[in-house]
Structures are given as C-alpha cells and as structure tokens.
Point group: C2
Chain length 398, copies 2
C-alpha cells in the first residue's frame, strides 16, 4: 500500500490511502500499489539536489537499461515552444527513446540559437554518459522563460546524475524535476504481471494543448501503438485539466515501454495513473485549495461542450466562487452565455445548472450544466483562484 | 474645468485635472469641460438612494424632454442575456428612445418569464410617468444574477424618480447606477456649440462583446446614422478593454441625440469621451491598481492581432506581472504562443517584445509585441490582477 498521502494536497484521502485517492480516479480492479518512488523493472534514475545549495537548476536523468520496446512523446503546441521541444521534434527518435534528461529551474525558452545548442549539448552529454545515441535521449526543461541556460552547471549535473543512477529507484528523479510543486506526484503500480511507474511535475501555467506539464512513464508491459495509446490517455487526463488557462512553452509527456514482461500493458492502467497524476497537478495548482469538475451535457457536439466547459472552468468568477464556497449558479450561466455569445438558447437557470458543489464542504466539487441542444458532452477539472495564486505570481520576479 | 479628479482612480492626473486624464485619451482640440454632473440640454435625470437605507436596488431615470432627434442602443451578445436585454431587442423603438429606466442591484438575468414581465412593468411604469409610449423607454439593469426582481420596490422607485427629475443634472442618476464601482464615471463636454454628456458604470465582468457595461450618452448635436456612429465609437473604446475576460449578461450602451443645437456632433467628441470612460472602467476594475495597454503589430491580419492581444491581456500571469511590476517578457511570449498554438513563428524575445512598462513606476503601462507576419494590428487595455479581486469575488456570496 502506498504512503502517498501528502498533507498539502487537497485531494481527499480514500480509505487505505490509495494512490487513486481522488473521487474521480478509479483504481483498476486488482491493481497493486508499490513503493511510489519505485521504477518499473528495466529503468534506472537519479536527480541532483543543487538548488537547495544555491544553484539555479537541478538535473534529473532516466535510463532505460533494458533495450528494445517502444516509446512515444507528446510536446506542447505553444508557438513559443522552448528549445528542448524543438529539439525533441527535430532531433529525437520518438519511437526509440532510451534516456531522458531534465533540467528544472530554467525553461530554456525564448533563448535563441544558443538555447537550441545548449539543449543539444545536454542531449549529447547524457547520451555519452548512458552509452546511447543522441537521438535516443529526450530533453525536457522547466522553469523561467528567457534566461540563458547555465550550461556548464547543467552539464556537470548530467555527469553527476550519470554516476548516481539507481536501478528501480525514482525518488531523487521525482524531487529534482519539481519547481513550484508543493508535493511530489508519482506512482508505481502493478497489474496482471505488468509494472508501471510515472513521475510528474506541474502547478501553474496549466491548460492543455495536449500535454500540460512534464510527465515520464515507464513500464515493462508490451505497448504496441505507443503514440496512439499515450495520446488517448493524455486526452482523458492532462487534456482535461486547467489551472490558469495558460499553455506552457515546455509541456512534455514521455512513455517508455520495455515490453520485457512479455505481457500487454493492461487496459485502464496507464489511463488511471495519468488521470490521478493530472488531478494532483490541479490540486497543486498555484494557490489551489479546491478542485472542481464541470460536466457539460446536451451541447450540439463535443467541441461545443468542450468550449463551454473551458469557459466555465477558466472563469475567474467561477474560480473565486469555488474558493469562497459560493453556490453561485448565475456565474455559470454568465460564462456559458459568453461561450455561446450570439446564439439563442433557452434560459440557463437552476433547473439545468447544478452549482451546489461549489458551496459543499468537500475539497473536490462537482458542478454540471445541461444545455438541451444535442448530445455533446465534455468535462474539465479546474482549480480555484485564491490569494496565494496572486502572491506566487505577483511576487515572483524575474 | 472639471472637478473630476477622483483619488481612488489609478489613472494619472494630467495638468489641470482634465477629464481626459489618461495618457491614452486625447482631448479634442477646443473642447470645454463643463460640470461633469451636468446633462446636455434637453434632458432631465434623477436617481434613488435606497440601497444606503437597506434596499436591495436603486432606480435611475433619464428623460429626453426635447422631442425628436435620433438614438441607438447596443446590447450584450451573451447567450444568457438578461430580461431587459431581450426586452430592448424586442419591445423598443431603438431609433426613437426618449427615456431610460435603470435598476441597479439586481441583474434580472436568468429570472425566467417573470423577469421579462418585470422588465416590461418597469418600462410601462416609466413610460407612463414620463408621458411616453413603452416602446420609447429603454430598460437597463445590473447586479446579481438569478435573483427575482423586487418589482414592487422597483416600481415605487420609478415613481419617486419621476417626481425628482432634474433638468440638466445627472449627479443622482450617475450615483444610482453604480454597483461595485469605486468612483463615478461621467462627463459633460462642449465643442463647436454641441454639448455631450455621458454616465457609465462598470468594474468587473468586463470584456467586450461590443458593449461591456452600462453607459448612457446624451447630446444636443445632430447625429445621423446614430447606430453606425455609436458602434464605431464603442469599437474603439468599450470593445478595447478587459478586466477579467468575462462577458456580462446585461451590457448596454445608449446614445440619444436631440439635434436641437442644429449643429452636427463634432468628429472625435463621442469617441474621446467613451474612450476615457472605458479607461476609467478598467482603472476601476475590481481590485485594479494599474492599467496596461498591449499593442500587437505585424500580425497576419487584424483578427489575429486581436486574438493575440486578448490572450496577453487576459493572461493571469501577465496581469499579476503588471501588479507586481515585473517586466517579465517571457510571460508575453508564452501567452502569444498560446494564441498562435500549432503555428511556426520566429522566436519571440526582447527584440520584438517591449515589456518594460510592466516594471515602470507609472500606473498606466504600455507594452508591445511585434510579430513580423503581416500588417495586422490591435490594442487592448487591461487591468492587473490583485488580492482585492479575489477578496471581492470570493467573499461576495449570493
């Protein structure tokens, strides 16, 4: 059983402190929870602890020691994508990822030609240390935008991490990738003879393109169509959340599957793990004290439902009502009316809006809107908007 | 000279405390500023002061005593439009408006059939009191959504206002239409023998459809094509602002022109007055301490420029940077990159982003982004995001 209960997370603990402790994340039947800091077999990891000693960045390294298998990577669609995103698009064998190198503390975004060369240098140094080709190593970075990367320090960190690689152990890796995160987000679970581990970070600048933060997933299961499988799981997890409606320049999700167990990755395992991790990112949204789920049904189509749900989830009036426990259905009517501006709809009142969850005592609130225009449905998970968000983002100065 | 300097407004006073005191609102050459609480000739107004004595609503009444002339009205496009909006669409002679009745304190939105009948009752009572047809009276309401209108109290207020009508005097009217406004927003100006007065209210739930709040404008100038003229002036003023990216269910702008001066409304007078009033609404944005202007140039077309400018203006990361005086150009690159997600653009860095205004000491901050993709340009004025916004909206409970 997991020791994952983290006092600073507002997600409500279920009995037995399951990793799958959100009311919205159902544990697959028969799943076992292992040490959440463990890695699936065939992987080793490490992470530096330099920021606690005054450095501006930390480095984390992941090595798939078991050759073969499959992989996939999803990258932000932000047009101001960071250097590592461009490198992973252009200079990575996306189906043959064997290593991952991460720098946290500096986004290496809007850093020009030098930034791209720095990302290449990270990739090459990690590849050399791990005995891989550069094209087999994914690079991910997170932190401040527009500040040149202290590349010498980062490369020293890569070397140190390569020496510290620990088979089966992801604790240092998970802590090293955190930035403004208040608690670590990770799991290691087993089902039907297949182990899956995952480590995520993210707390602000969170709304989907498809990826929305950094997340690394390892398994010894067999995963054919890794990209399709990852894309579908992300669509149902990281694509369903918003903290502040922003889209990061650096979002990255990586899946690596060795296939060494000889058994297929069970249906629902990846999906449930990513959903719980996504909900933890919302719960850790900068300053977040509560998590809401808005369900929109009866839209003309899924796209319309999604548009209405996002307008509600990102409305600062709805987000402050969630914070203030105000079951204010009028704000939901207003936000939906903005999403459908110019259209004629039946009046939205308490008969079709359930806002009671906003005022409920639970940290996880469910609200719903029924439009009666068709069969389109969508849901979005969102954080509240609190004083702490302002503090973090107004008082954090470049 | 105006006495309009209001200590609670963050707009910077110009020498002589001009009404046109924003750096962005240029006074038309030769304009005279009259008592800002005055009305143009041919109009009378009044307003109740019932909320200070425990009532939930106030009523304000405006009467064009000079017959004839022209008028226009612009109404929110929110699909959850309030009852008075629907009534003004269906049951108003939009070109022949002679009276305006306003209730502040209750939006009369999402109030069903009864809400529509209540708005009709307000219109009929005001018309009877003013000796007009119902179709000549515009109805505007602002306040809480989804609460039944206390119609008996409102009708009593209409009667009392009818008895208190004061020719040439809008002070009570202006104060009665305020809700969360921290200061009154109004002017009375004269140019080339034509007088124009205007009264506005608005502080939150502000982003354009086209109208964004309540604003009433009176003039004795001749205005042919009143609707086109009003629409153009609103496009350059109330359509250029955002406080929290929301769209009200009740936004209304009314222009009434008697034409009694026999002279045309001078070019630029309406436009300058509405721009200054729009900037005062941003400056009075809930919790606002600063106002920013983002100029986007070099977009593929005006629509793209507008989309990028709004993404920046509504980004909570940019808004908190404005509050915290952090010249963080990376947040502008991120927001622009979200608006252009999926597209390939040259990297956005300090060479094309001017974020210095965010960190400048002035209350009015100018920031700019040059995209180098075409000739499209747009600008948007926006408020910062502060602790007070959270307080107002989280602690205000239905």
């Amino acid at each position: 059983v997991s020791d994952l209960q983290v006092p600073t997370s507002p997600l409500e603990p279920k009995p037995a402190e399951s990793f799958f402790r959100s009311r919205w994340a159902e544990a697959p039947a028969g799943v076992s929870e292992l040490d959440p800091d463990a890695l699936a077999p065939g992987f080793a990891a490490s992470g530096s602890d330099r920021r606690s000693r005054g450095s501006s960045t930390d480095v984390a390294l992941l090595h798939q020691t078991e050759p073969g298998g499959s992989s996939a990577i999803l990258l932000t669609r932000n047009a101001s994508a960071a250097a590592p995103i461009v490198l992973c698009r252009e200079g990575l064998d996306q189906g043959g990822i064997r290593g991952v190198v991460v720098n946290s503390g500096n986004a290496n975004a809007s850093t020009g030609e030098q930034g791209y060369r720095d990302a290449e240098a990270m990739q090459a140094r990690a590849a050399a240390a791990l005995g891989l080709e550069s094209r087999e190593v994914a690079v991910a970075e997170t932190g401040t935008i527009g500040v040149p990367l202290p590349i010498d320090e980062v490369l020293e960190g890569v070397d140190a991490c390569a020496e510290a690689l620990a088979p089966g152990e992801a604790g240092d890796f998970t802590r090293a990738i955190m930035t403004t995160d208040a608690f670590p987000k990770r799991c290691c679970v087993e089902l039907d003879g297949v182990t899956l581990s995952a480590q995520a970070k993210g707390a602000g600048m969170i709304e989907p393109g498809y990826a929305t933060m950094l997340c690394f997933v390892q398994t010894d299961g067999v995963v054919e169509d890794a990209e399709d499988r990852l894309r579908a799981a992300v669509a149902a997890s990281f694509e369903r959340i918003t903290v502040d409606g922003q889209m990061s320049t650096n979002d990255t999700v990586v899946l690596q599957a060795t296939g060494a167990s000889g058994k297929p990755l069970p249906d629902g395992l990846l999906e449930a793990a990513l959903l719980q991790l996504a909900l933890e990112i919302v719960a850790d949204g900068e300053g977040s004290s509560r998590v809401g789920r808005i369900d929109v049904t009866g839209a003309r189509d899924a796209d319309e439902a999604e548009r209405v749900a996002r307008e509600i989830a990102n409305s600062p009036l709805v987000k402050t009502a969630l914070y203030g426990r105000d079951p204010n259905w009028g704000r939901i009517a207003q936000a939906a009316g903005k999403a459908l501006a110019g259209e004629t709809i039946p009046e939205l009142g308490p008969d079709v809006i359930d806002a009671d969850g906003l005022g409920a005592p639970e940290a996880e609130a469910e609200i719903a809107l029924r439009l009666d225009r068709g069969d389109g449905a969508a849901h979005v998970f969102f954080s509240d908007l609190t004083h702490t968000y302002i503090e973090i983002n107004a008082e954090y100065t470049t």
